[in-house]
């Protein structure tokens, strides 16, 4: 069991900052390559004209999900040492709804707004500024929100625990659903005017 490398002490905290930069560069590269730095293209998802967001996001999810499963199975990656985001049922539901609304209005998300800003889009800069203001304002009001923010905690809570099926079965089902979704997405796009190209 050698990975995660940082956990097994392969390199220092300082070096991990260098890792952050490299991973970030690769992250930004693929976002821009697929057109995720374009607000018009992203917004197209919600008018069923350009379903690139769905395709990129879920391909990424199933790729990483399969990768984690099989690297774990072959004993290369200690899956129990990966930090899994914890669950707070209601705040994440409400946060998701609010976030989705903001996404439809602005056309960008936190990561893609940085790509947009870096490639010259002024609207990207505006979204970045808005996000900063939103996070700052919410943080300043935190004491009033704390009760809600901390409500319905479930700790580390995965779909395997919720649905009481093995992780392997869950992985298979998600892959099948995603692939079916891609087929449907391709069909929807060919009926519409076609994906936003530039």
């Amino acid at each position: 069991m050698i990975a995660p490398f940082f956990d097994s002490g392969a390199f220092s905290e300082t070096a991990s900052i260098g890792v952050a930069l490299v991973i970030g560069i690769a992250f930004g590269w693929f976002l821009e390559r697929s057109g995720m730095g374009s607000a018009r293209k992203l917004a197209g998802q919600f008018y069923l004209r350009d379903l690139t967001v769905f395709k990129v996001m879920f391909t990424a999810i199933i790729t990483a999900m399969l990768g984690v499963f099989w690297l774990g199975r072959f004993g290369v990656l200690d899956v129990d040492r990966i930090f899994v985001p914890e669950t707070w049922l209601v705040p994440q539901l409400v946060g998701g709804l609010v976030f989705g609304a903001g996404f439809a209005i602005s056309g960008l998300c936190p990561g893609t707004s940085c790509v947009a800003a870096a490639t010259g889009r002024i609207d990207g800069v505006s979204v970045v500024a808005g996000m900063f203001a939103g996070v700052l304002g919410t943080g300043l009001l935190y004491s009033k929100l704390q009760g809600f923010y901390l409500s319905t905690p479930r700790g580390t809570y995965t779909l395997t625990q919720l649905l009481n099926v093995s992780q392997g079965i869950l992985v298979f089902v998600i892959v099948l659903v995603a692939l079916a979704g891609f087929k449907v997405a391709d069909m929807i796009e060919s009926r519409a005017a076609g994906p936003v190209s530039q």
């Binding site: 069991m1 199975r73 004993g75 899956v79 093995s166 089902v173 891609f182």
Partner: protein, 198 residues
Amino acid sequence: MKRSSVLRGLALAAIVLGALAAVVGSPRANGSGVDVAALARDVETEQDHVTAIELARWIRDRKPGLRIIDVRDSAEFEDYHIPGAERMPVKSVVKAAFKPSETIVMYSGGGAHAAQAWVILRARGERHVFFLRGGVAEWLDEVMNPQIPANLSREARVDADSVGALSRYFGGVPRRVDSAVPVPAFKATVARVRGRGC
């Protein structure tokens, strides 16, 4: 290579990897992990422990592969232990290699340490593991010194007789509950049992 055949290849790879994952079930190298849902189920359906009577029957019937493990310290073990038990502190239990054909029954003084060792062994992947829920105390109470009520129906009498016979097999003393003599305390029982030898 044509784009469409690359995509088709990736989709096929995802399906195959997903299907194999469903077969394999766990993303952990030793094939099992702490499947907390399964552990919880076994606790609720009472498949995690055995009663002293059940254990006594297994010993008397010479159940193949039965290993009885006493996780207490050596002084307590010398004082009294269940016939056929081997002494193994919890530290050693978790490192021990058991054969798949073996049935492990662990016990401690009151049952708590054995129950904890049960969780650890199950998390390690061992399947045929049980603990004696009431520990040595339950063995002494139910097997060595069982209480037999005086007035019983015909079926209850048959059961009571078999418990009585089981108790005498181990050199125990069944006690009639309507007797004037009070039920002896733990230590007194041990002394009496020791006096009987074997």
